[in-house]
Structure formats: structure tokens, C-alpha cells
Subunit: 341 residues, 2 copies
């Protein structure tokens, strides 16, 4: 019998499986005093505040193996947590990964998933310090990340003031469009064509880039509030408005859109402004910053593009269309309980 | 319409649901700089090492609502993580809780589950600092806990030496027997009778007590290795043996058993020694400690009973029956992938 060919998770048992998987996620750093394999991990953290966040990703709800490779799923499971630390202006350091999987899943699939986790961890200087594996009827990835507050202090959602400029890193709306195209591509040659012509849209869904450097830098430039765009630009900016007790005006014409955005919105028959405001899962940073600091921010974040797209105001929350029409910003972002996936 | 009657998770939406649930888990302590509601939580931890652990509990695999109340499930989801911190000799401080649930689950069920988390958190001085809720086809509770290493330093699994005494807190085997009785009680009047006569067996399964004080105290008394009994006494002591490169002799006659243990083993038709060695989920501490320190440990842990049950030796791993028969200790503890639940 050939070792490793066709092996399933159930052939290995819990301890052997977790050992095999954790071997894929790269070496531990010196600050890891006790790594995986004991009752708990032990790490050293800086003297400042410790940041902590966790996310639970489920097959069939947050990802489909038909639309993302196992390595993409692993990358994204860690990336979305790093994005939360980035949105506080902090530096991610350590991750705990709990995995649920059916016994019949090929070990190679899980190894590829952990390769993706390892790739993301390596790219952003994070060590995977522990884990848990359990039998489940679908793949479940639960990640918790610990980080250190940045030297410039923590940036919450609650510090935006009227007059502050709203900026966003990269571009938004691409992840939602990429997902729609991936879901349709099997039956719809036009969708398949758009995916080929604009490969960045699929990548935006499958491998979001957590903006960890950008978050720390923005904190240093005087950002007053920050959030990562996970529920959709409108919903997430409204979270800042609620926490800060302010309003916002977003200029449609200024929103940075990825290549192929308008073609895809046309294919989907969706108002491009709605798609840009409501498409979630981009993991870009929405940043509130005093107007006087914007040019410094733009310079400091290069080569990452950061774009001023509006202004915080007294209380009204509106989007201003290119033709000057003003539309109320409804918080229509993704809601895990109310909407169907 | 009566507010709150018959409400389901899907009626509330993600943000309202998590707000309602986190309101049940008690006040935050001063060291929580940023609690739930921002991208990440921020806490202060002591200057020593930070301990971190996580566990993923699934309905149908780790718990059944027919056998445990929602509050029991919440208690246990946190308790098993506190137990891991205890087994390092550390003090648990903060918890992140991610919840998956079907939209049709009554909000009251989830609130009761969080009441159980809050009750456990309050009993052991832990603050719930963050959370995530997602839609799932069954209830999933994923908990990560941060703690501080104790003043006496961390106790891993790898420090046991030949000659050290093996001690165990409380009693073992009760949780597995309690689960068997609970599973059978509907159809089997004898099982139901045993549950009534020996209520501690159900409690051992439903509401295990994490030994956080005992773990820190044992570290101070000079424990050389420690583990919590989650997979079963034999399997967990074998984990110490593997990590420490030693063997062990466990004396059957010394193993502390709960009230009703032998009656239940007889009812189940199981060899009581097997049941005591292989029944997992007790969350007692197995402690290796030099012989000269045992009496100090017994005194310091009171009123919790701690019992010497054997000795670490060169390499052999055996259980010695009351009649002197020696049997190899197979690591037959619960394996999440190889065994059916």
C-alpha cells in the first residue's frame, strides 16, 4: 500500500492528524515558549495591550470547495482574523486553529488547507501556536488570533468626528462580484468569460489581503476610527457612524472599483452603486482621518492605494451619486442570520 | 405580540443576537480595555507568559440537547478550556466565544447557553471579551481562552521523572458513566434509577469543574508534569509518559471513583478498571510530583481531594489490578476521528 495515497482523516486519528497538519504551518518564533502539543500554548507578548479576535467559518455558509481551493479556504480563515487586528491598528502575532472535518475527507485536502493557513501566517509574521481537530459533518475552521496594539495606540470604531475624511484602501465590491461570477461560471459562459478577463475578482473572494501594515501605518498617521470592510462598505461605515455618533457622505464617483467591476455589475443586472456599497468580504480598511492628515496617509500607505471617498458629517448618512442625487445609506451588508447565503 | 416569546435567532439578525447574548455573560473587568463590539477586543495581561487554548464543541458530537441543558452546554464549552489552562498551572482570564446556530433555534435556548457560559466565567474569574455568531445547521460553540502563567511557572506534560508520584484530583470515570446512563435512561428504568440514586454521575458529564485553583496550587507545590483528564485517565497519563520519556504504574485499588461507579459499571457490563482508565471527559488533573511533596500537595489542595494512584517508572506502562495482575496500559482514550461518538 502506498503511504499517503487516498488517506482519509479517519485513518489517522486525532493526534496524528493534528501533528501532520500543524507540520504544514511553518516554524515557531522565539517568543513561542510552548507550541502545539501541550494542554495550552504559551507565548510572550509585548508590554502593551493584547488584541484578540476570533471567527468561525463553515463549509456551505462561508466557503464552498467548488469555488475556492482548500488552500484558499485556509488562507482566508486566517486572513479575516488578521484583518480584524489590522482594523485596530495592531500587529497580529499568534493564531489558534480549530478544525472540524468529516472522517472521509482526504488528508491531502486538509493538508492543503493548512498549507494555505501557513502561507498566510508566513506572509504576515504570524505563528500558529495550537489547534484542535474534531469530527464534523462538514469542514469547519475556527481561528482565534492574538496581536499587539501598535505603538500609535489602538484605533476603535468610535473616534470619527464631523469633518474627518473617509478613506478606503484598495478597491471594494470585487469580492462579492467574484463570488457571483464563480457561482454562475459553470452554466454561464459570460460569467466564465468575465472571470478569465478579470482574474482579480475571483482572487478578491478567494484570497483577500489583510491590511496589517496599512492599519498600523494609518494609526501612526492619526486615524480617528477604523473598520475592515467585511459586511459591505455601507454597513461597515455605518458601524463607525453608530459607534462615533456621526453621519457620513460617501461620493459614488470616488469609490475605488476593481477592474471589471462595471462589466460584472451589468452582467448581474445590479446597480453598480448598490454593488459597491453592499458587496461584503473585501477586507479593505475604511479609515476616518482628519483632512489635514490625508496626504500624509496616502504617501505612507504607498504602494497600497488609499482613496478619500467622502466625509463624516453631523448625522445624515448618505451616498451622493455622480449626478448629485443623494440616497440614504441603508446598512444592507451581509447578515449571517437574516439572509440566505 | 408578546416580546421575546417564541423568538428565533433568525428574527434578530447577527448584530442584535450577539448583543443580546453577550449581555448574559457578566460585567467586564478593568483590565478589559476594549470589550465586544469592535473589530477585536483589547486586554491587559500580566508581564509573564500568556497561555492560549481553544476547543470546538459540536452538537451531536460533543453534546446533545436531550442529555444536557443549554446552560450545561455553555458551562462545559468554557469549562473544558479553563481546564486546559489549569493543567498548565495558569490562571484563565479572558474568553472569546464563537457561536454557530440554525436560524430556527429559539433565542431563549441561545440565551440559556450564554447564561451557562456566564455562570462558569463568573465562577472562575473569566471575562468574555468577544464573539462571533454565524448561521449553521447545528449548534457549534468554539471557545478560545487566554490566561496568565502562574507565579510558580508553567507545568508542561514533559517534566515527569521516574520516582515521581502520579496523583489525580477528585474522581474519574463518572463523566463517561453519566453519559451512558443519560443515553439509556429513556428506555431503561435501571439506568434512570441509577441516575436518580447517584446524581453526581450526570453532573460529572454535564457540568465538569475545571480545576483552576488546584492547578496553580499544584504548580506551587512542585508538580513536575500535569494534564487534564479529557481523553481518559490511561490515554492522558500516557501523554505525560510520551512527553516525559517515562513509564507509569497505576494501582487500580487506589483510583478514586465516584459514588455509584461500580453499580453503573455492572449495569453497563463493563470491567470497572477499563471504565476508570478509559472513560474520558472528567476534567480532573493528573499530576506528577516528587514523593516528598505529596503530603504538602494533599494539604494545599483541600478541600479538593487529591489521591496518589501510582508512580512514574522507567518505561513500562501498566495498571496493577487489586489481585496483583499487571496489564499494559493501552492508550484507549476517546479519539475524535477514529471512534463513533
Amino acid at each position: 500500500m502506498l503511504a499517503g495515497v487516498g488517506e482519509e482523516a479517519g485513518d489517522l486519528g486525532e493526534f496524528e492528524l493534528i501533528k501532520r497538519l500543524l507540520a504544514r504551518v511553518g516554524p515557531l518564533v522565539a517568543d513561542v515558549l510552548i507550541g502545539p502539543g501541550d494542554d495550552a500554548a504559551a507565548v510572550r507578548l509585548g508590554p502593551g495591550a493584547t488584541l484578540a479576535t476570533s471567527d468561525l467559518l463553515l463549509e456551505g455558509v462561508h466557503f464552498e470547495f467548488g469555488l475556492s481551493s482548500p488552500a484558499d479556504v485556509g488562507w482566508k480563515a486566517l486572513a479575516v482574523n488578521l484583518s480584524d487586528i489590522a482594523a485596530m491598528g495592531g500587529a497580529p502575532r499568534y493564531a489558534l486553529v480549530s478544525l472540524g472535518a468529516p472522517a472521509a475527507v482526504p488528508v491531502a485536502t486538509l493538508e492543503a488547507l493548512y498549507d494555505g493557513i501557513g502561507e498566510c501566517a508566513g506572509s504576515f509574521g504570524v505563528s500558529v501556536i495550537g489547534g484542535d481537530t474534531v469530527r464534523a459533518d462538514r469542514v469547519i475552521v475556527s481561528v482565534a488570533v492574538l496581536g499587539e496594539a501598535g505603538h500609535a495606540g489602538m484605533v476603535t470604531r468610535s473616534g470619527a468626528r464631523p469633518g474627518d475624511v473617509l478613506c478606503v484602501t484598495g478597491s471594494v465590491g470585487g469580492a462579492a462580484e467574484g463570488l457571483s461570477l464563480l457561482q454562475a461560471a459553470g452554466d454561464d459562459p459570460q460569467a466564465a468569460g468575465l472571470l478569465t478577463q478579470f482574474p482579480g475578482l475571483a482572487v478578491a473572494h478567494q484570497r483577500p489581503t489583510p491590511r496589517t501594515r496599512e492599519g498600523q501605518t494609518a494609526a501612526g498617521c492619526g486615524a480617528t476610527a477604523m473598520i475592515d470592510v467585511s459586511d459591505g462598505l455601507a454597513a461597515d461605515v455605518c458601524h463607525i457612524c453608530e459607534a462615533s455618533g456621526v453621519g457620513v457622505e460617501i461620493r459614488e464617483a470616488s469609490i475605488p472599483l476593481p477592474d471589471g467591476f462595471r462589466d460584472t455589475a451589468r452582467w448581474a443586472g445590479v446597480d453598480p452603486l448598490r454593488m459597491a456599497l453592499d458587496g461584503g468580504d473585501d477586507y479593505e480598511l475604511a479609515i476616518a482621518i482628519p483632512a489635514a492628515q490625508v496626504s500624509q496617509l496616502v504617501e505612507a500607505l504607498a504602494p497600497t492605494v488609499v482613496t478619500p471617498i467622502g466625509e463624516f458629517v453631523g448625522s445624515e448618512r448618505v451616498a451622493v451619486r455622480a449626478d448629485g442625487t443623494r440616497e440614504p445609506l441603508d446598512a444592507l451588508g451581509w447578515d449571517h442570520f437574516k439572509e440566505e447565503p
